[in-house]
Each structure stands twice: as C-alpha cells, then as structure tokens.
C-alpha cells in the first residue's frame, strides 16, 4: 500500500513529466505510465483522503465536516462501494496553516496511497493543496467555496471545485436582494484580496440586477470595531446591506448593528452557522440576516431530507452549510468514480470532469471547461435561532445557469481547462 503511493510519486519525479503534464493541461490523454498502473488497483480498496481544518480558528466547523465525511464513507460501503471496492476514508488536520495542509496532503499520497483527495480549507490553504494534487496527479476535490484567484490562476487539470464563491454568491445574492428589498445597497467588506473580489463581484451583479451601490465601507480582516461603518450605514440608509465578513467580524458587526437599532436586511456573503451563532441567538430576533447559499438543510429534495434525518439522528443536530458542502462534493466525485472504468488518476479525472447527475441537494454538473461544479443557489433567511442551532428557511431558488458565468465567458483565462 505504501509502496504503491511511493511508486506513483517516483514515476512522476523520475520522468519529470508530472509537473509538465499539469502545466500542459493534457492530463487525460497523456498516459505517462501512471495512468493505468496507479490508483487502488490490486487490493480492492478505494482510498479517499480528506484534509480539513480541525483545530485553529475554523475548528468550529470541524464536527460538521468530519461527521458528513464519515457518513458518506459509510453510506458508500453500505451501497457496495466504488466499482465494487471498499471505500476507505483518511482524515488529516490542516491546523488552518498552509504549510501543514500541504504536508498532510503529500503524506496522504505518499503513505496512504489515496486515489482521491478532498479538502475543506481556508482560502490561504486551498491553493497549496490543489497544487499538491496537481503535481502528484491525484484528483483533488475542493469542497469549500473560495477565491476567484484559485479558479482563475491556481487550478490545474486535477483540481475540481465548488464554484468560486464570490461570483456565484454575488449573482444569486444581488438578484435576490434587489428583488426582495430594493435597489439601494450599502457594501461593507474585508479589505484584502478576497474581500476585494467580493466587493467587485457584488457591485457588478447589483448593477446588472438594476440596483445601485449608494456607499461602501472597508474594514481590515481582523476588524472587531464596526461602529464607524454602522454610522456610515445609518447615513446612507440603504434598502439592504451586502456584508462580506465571516468569523469574528460578522459577530461584531451584527452586535453593533443590533445595538444601534439598525433593522436593515443584511446579506451575508458567507454564513457558516457556528460563526454567526457567536452573535447569540437573541440577535436574530431583531436582525434580518440573509445569505445566498449553496446548501441548507431546508433544501426540498427527497435525498436531502433523507440525509438531514440521518444526520440528525446520528449527531443530534441539523447539518450545517459545511456538512452539506462536504457531503455533496465528495459524493459527486465518488459517483463519477463509481461510473469510471478503473481508478487510475487520469481515468478518474476524465470521469469527474464530465460528470453530471443527482446528489443529495439535487442536480449537480461538473463543467469540463473550468472544473467548477454547477448547481442551483438559494437565498436563505435566518428564521430564528437557539443556543446551538440556526433555523433557516429558503426564500428563493436561483437556477444554476443564472449564477455561474458561462463557459464562453471564462474559458480564456482558465488554466485548468483541458481543452
């Protein structure tokens, strides 16, 4: 088992083609020796490695991710495995540090010989691990939504991902916000590369949806004092607020807004439940919080309701955004792998990049032009909250083709395109 992982890496290193294959973007046809012989062949086990933050600032999402991953592996083994092979899951903690995430991913390949990598990581870790997958020729499925840069410049023929969150979320959210509340928008975003993407994408899509940005504010990433911004919002008196912070910034902002008595609807670009619960359940009595989201437990498909029921009976809580994202993306990749003919990396890559079908949340298409998944988006509102649960309701469903830029628009800049 360990030998196998080694040999794959050694082949790549020895021929020196691993990296070249990646850059040339012709992986599926390259057949550089590892395509046929690699993977799990021989011992009838399909190995999936997950690198996700389990400790560090994002560790509050960890239980959702871990539980969903374990459930998924069990579900597949109950169904008879991938191509009849037992599925084995391996779990590594990235510690929210890129250097650790990269080394753990490499270790999963070298020591466990995984056939496929999945990640649930922060923006600063994602690129490094996608790169590990690409260099080693291991298909890598990124479950967390991330920065546009990751898709535009850092993707490679082996990387597959949830749509870049900035554009899809902005398209869904801007349409929903203008539709539900009106045209005048105040933007408040974190002042660093990802925040700039969020701001630009929302501004553009708000204008496309017929709205206008009446004013905007920026705060540093670790900001905890939002009083100047709340003052600016009061002055601008917009119909709704586009808000780009996650983490402690979101908590501080919601508290400040509630404190000042602002009851303007807030559209949170990202709303992971464990984070926004940090503001306390009472905040949601008065504050109207919306988010354009890829997943909530309230999505009305039979498969999802079944998933939600089982998740709740096993863990005692409803699956959050992180659980749904982790389950759905890895599920899609496993379904693709199940339909493939063999488990060599290039076979898997060609199976995943063409795959479309049904996952727990409904339709799911992997676009071969840019390796981004495409699925509907939802405008979800926080109905209420108690000490350890956010209760969502889906307000609007935005079809998949309305939120993702079409392949014609994007292919020019896509490094991961295999064409």
């Amino acid at each position: 088992m360990v030998r196998e992982g080694l040999s794959r890496r050694d082949v790549l290193a020895a021929t020196g083609t691993g990296a070249v294959v990646g850059l040339a973007g012709c992986s599926s046809d390259s057949g550089n020796g590892n395509g046929n012989g690699g993977g799990g062949g021989g011992d009838d086990v399909f190995r999936v490695g997950l690198v996700a933050f389990q400790s560090g600032p994002y560790s509050a999402f960890a239980p959702d991710i871990q539980d969903a991953f374990e459930m998924l592996i069990d579900d597949w083994n109950d169904m008879g495995g991938v191509q009849g092979m037992e599925v084995e899951g391996f779990n590594r903690d990235s510690e929210a540090a890129p250097e650790t995430a990269i080394q753990r991913a490499q270790e999963l390949i070298d020591s466990e010989g995984v056939d496929m990598l999945a990640t649930f990581l922060s923006t600063d870790e994602d690129g490094g691990v996608m790169n590990v997958g690409g260099r080693n020729g291991v298909p890598t499925v990124t479950c967390a939504t991330g920065a546009r840069l990751l898709v535009d410049e850092q993707c490679n023929p082996y990387s597959f991902r949830a749509p870049t969150s900035t554009l899809t979320k902005a398209k869904a959210g801007a349409a929903g916000g203008v539709d539900l509340f009106g045209e005048e928008v105040f933007q408040l975003n974190p002042d660093y590369s990802w925040g700039h993407e969020i701001q630009e994408d929302w501004e553009r899509t708000i204008e496309e949806a017929g709205g206008t940005v009446v004013d905007q504010g920026w705060a540093e990433l670790g900001a905890s004092d939002f009083s100047t911004h709340v003052g600016a919002i009061q002055d601008a008196d917009p119909d709704w607020i586009q808000f780009g912070f996650a983490g402690s910034g979101a908590v501080a902002f919601m508290t400040e807004a509630q404190q000042t008595g602002i009851d303007i609807p807030q559209f949170h670009h990202v709303a992971y439940e464990p984070t926004i619960l940090g503001a306390g359940s009472s905040v949601f009595d008065e504050t109207r919080v919306y988010t354009p989201t890829e997943y909530t437990y309230d999505i009305d498909t039979e498969a999802n309701q079944d998933f939600v029921d089982r998740f709740e009976s096993e863990t005692g809580r409803l699956p959050g955004l992180a659980a749904g994202q982790a389950y759905r993306h890895i599920e899609a990749a496993l379904r693709a792998a199940d339909g493939a003919d063999g488990t060599g990396p290039d076979t898997l890559v060609s199976a995943i990049r063409e795959w479309s079908g049904e996952v727990i949340s409904g339709e799911y298409n992997m676009r071969s032009c840019d390796h981004q998944a495409s699925y509907p988006m939802y405008i979800a509102e926080v109905d209420s909250a108690d000490d350890d649960q956010i209760y969502w309701s889906v307000e609007e469903t935005i079809p998949a083709d309305e939120v993702l830029a079409s392949c014609d628009e994007v292919t020019g800049r896509m490094e991961c395109s295999v064409e």
Binding site: G16, P98, E107, S111, S193
Partner: protein, 335 residues
C-alpha cells in the same frame, strides 16, 4: 543602555544572561572537531538515500527549520538581540523563490543571489528602524514591522493575496544531474545549505567580529566604552542572520511549492524562537535539535490530539525555566 528594568535586582545580575561557554566543540578533540560539520552533513545526506517518501519530507522540513534556527541563533544566542519578527525574512524568502520560479523561470543560482540581496535590503530597513531601541523594545518593534509586511502581502495581487503563490515546478539548476523535482536531490540541497550556513556562522563567530557580538550580548555599554560602534555590529549581526533566514525561507517555499502570507505571520517568528530555545541558544547546532524536537512532536502528537500545541507550550515553559541552555547546552555542560 541595554538595561531594561531599573530594578536593582535585575541590574546586578545582568551578566548572568545564559552564556553557554561550554560550546560543544570544547568537549571534543580538535581533530574530530574540524571535520564534525562535514561528517554530520554526510550522515544527514546519507539519510536522504534510505528514507521513504514521507519521512524524507519530515527530514527536509527539519533541515530547513534548522537553517532558520541557526541564522536566528547568531542574533539571539550570540548577540543577545531577541527578534520577534524573523518571519519577515523567512516569508520574504518564500515569496522570492516562488515568484522567480513561476513568473521569471529563473534558475536556482539566480534565485539564491536575489534572495541574498533581498535579505540584505530587508535587514537594513528593519535594522535601521528597530536597532534604535533595545531589549524588549527591539522585540516588539521587530514584531510590529513583520506584521506590517504580513498585512501588505495579504493585500497585494503580486503576492496572490490570501491565496498565496503556488509553483508547479522547482527551478532548474546549472548542473544537469541535479533535478530539484526529485525530493532526494532537493533534500541534499537543503543539507548542503545547512552545512554551509553552519560553517559560515562558525567562521564569523571565531573572527574578531564574533567577539564583539558576544561582548554586546554580555554588556553593550561596556563594548561601547571599549570603543566599538555597537550599532554597526548589531546591524551586521541582524543582516547576516536576516540573509540566512531569507535563504531558509526560499527553500521552505520550494519545499512546499508554495508561498503564503502565513509564512510572514508572527507565529512563524515564535516558532524559530521555540526551536532555538529548545535546542539551546548560543550553541549554533542547538536549533537543529530544537527543530527536530518540534517537528517530530507535531508529527506524533497531532494525530492523537488537536491540542498538541498545549504540550509544546508546557514543554517550552519547562525548558526555559529548568534548562535555559536548551537540549544541547544542557548536554554539553561541563560541571
């Protein structure tokens, strides 16, 4: 003046700053000593040929952190200056090597030359600002300056912002037989740079300049009174330390095929302090053992507990209080 507290108790005992006068070399015969770094280097290099893939990665990580630690020790252990901002050098090195590899496709030698130049420039800027102060002021200033670099790297497009900069390949070398994409070759490069770093530091420390560094550590006022322009010597120590820290960072970037703003973050500065104090400040080879200890501790503890850092923290506090000379300093103590 170096004195920080005016508490009489502190002043009277200042010269008790831990000095490992019993350097490891004094316990060994000079003939062995002469070749010791080379012998150790060859032994380390030999490991590269026998270790499987993952242990080789771990070993490479240790060697790179050891270079960083040895560079840090010159400033902290021998000159008595506690920098809490050495991540500035380390992270800059990673950006230099990754950027020049991907955007410029430069060969290794050119990258290393630029890294050295970047190290000199950065050291001079940081040094001229922060060396106007002493002691804990210096520590806090270096920390703040490194954080400023972190903030900048997090925002700029050329650094990839938060997403960082990846590379798909390691640079070419002028020697056709060396392929850095081969992890064994890359490891051997790291070992070679570790040995060179050690020998250069050794050389500097046995020169008159090294004596002035130690004199500054023991009592800067006295060194000034003897007639040394201590500011210049401190700047020299910071620059040499900075240049080798940038080199270590360049290797770190190539090791991971990635540069991230996190490499500029204060936790990276804390890590090199941990490594140096664990191994033994003022021993020069101590940081190698400190790096080994920290990396292996994480390797073995992190699968068992999410809170392995708790044990690092506890171990560190114990070492600082009970074994201020670190692993190496304690083992080579003569009394």
């Amino acid at each position: 003046m170096t004195s920080i507290g005016l508490k009489p108790r502190l002043k009277a005992t200042q010269s008790r700053f831990v000095t490992v006068k019993t350097d490891i070399e004094e316990t060994l015969p000079p003939q062995v000593l002469q070749f010791l770094p080379v012998i150790a280097g060859v032994a380390l290099a030999a490991l590269g040929f026998v270790l499987p893939a993952h242990p080789l990665q771990v070993m490479t990580h240790i060697v790179i952190l050891a270079i960083f630690g040895v560079a840090y020790d010159l400033l902290f252990g021998y000159t008595g200056l506690l920098s809490f901002g050495h991540a500035a050098f380390f992270g800059t090195g990673a950006y230099v090597s990754i950027y020049l590899t991907t955007a410029m496709e430069w060969p290794l030698l050119a990258i290393l030359v630029v890294a050295i130049l970047a190290g000199v420039v950065l050291s001079l800027v940081i040094g001229i600002i922060s060396l106007r102060t002493h002691g804990v002021y210096f520590a806090m200033l270096t920390l703040a300056l490194a954080q400023l670099l972190y903030i900048i790297a997090y925002r700029l497009d050329v650094t990839g912002g938060a997403s960082g900069l990846p590379t798909f390949m390691r640079p070419e070398t002028i020697l056709p037989v060396v392929d850095l994409g081969n992890n064994v070759h890359f490891y051997l490069l790291c070992v070679a740079i570790l040995v060179i770093t050690y020998l250069v530091m050794k050389r500097i420390l046995s020169s008159p300049m090294g004596d002035v560094f130690r004199a500054i550590r023991e009592n800067e006022e006295r060194a000034q009174m003897i007639g040394y322009h201590t500011f210049r010597y401190k700047l020299a120590s910071l620059t040499i330390s900075g240049v080798f820290s940038v080199l270590a960072g360049s290797l770190f970037g190539l090791f991971l095929y990635f540069a991230s703003p996190r490499f500029l973050y204060w936790q990276m500065s804390g890590e090199v302090l941990l490594i140096t104090l664990f191994g033994g400040a003022g021993t020069l080879i101590g940081p190698f053992f400190g790096a080994t200890f920290i990396v292996l501790l994480e390797e073995f503890l992190s699968p068992v507990t999410d809170h392995w850092l708790l044990f690092v923290g506890i171990a560190f506090v114990f070492v600082v209080i009970l074994f201020p000379k670190g692993i190496v300093g304690t083992l080579t103590q003569e009394d």
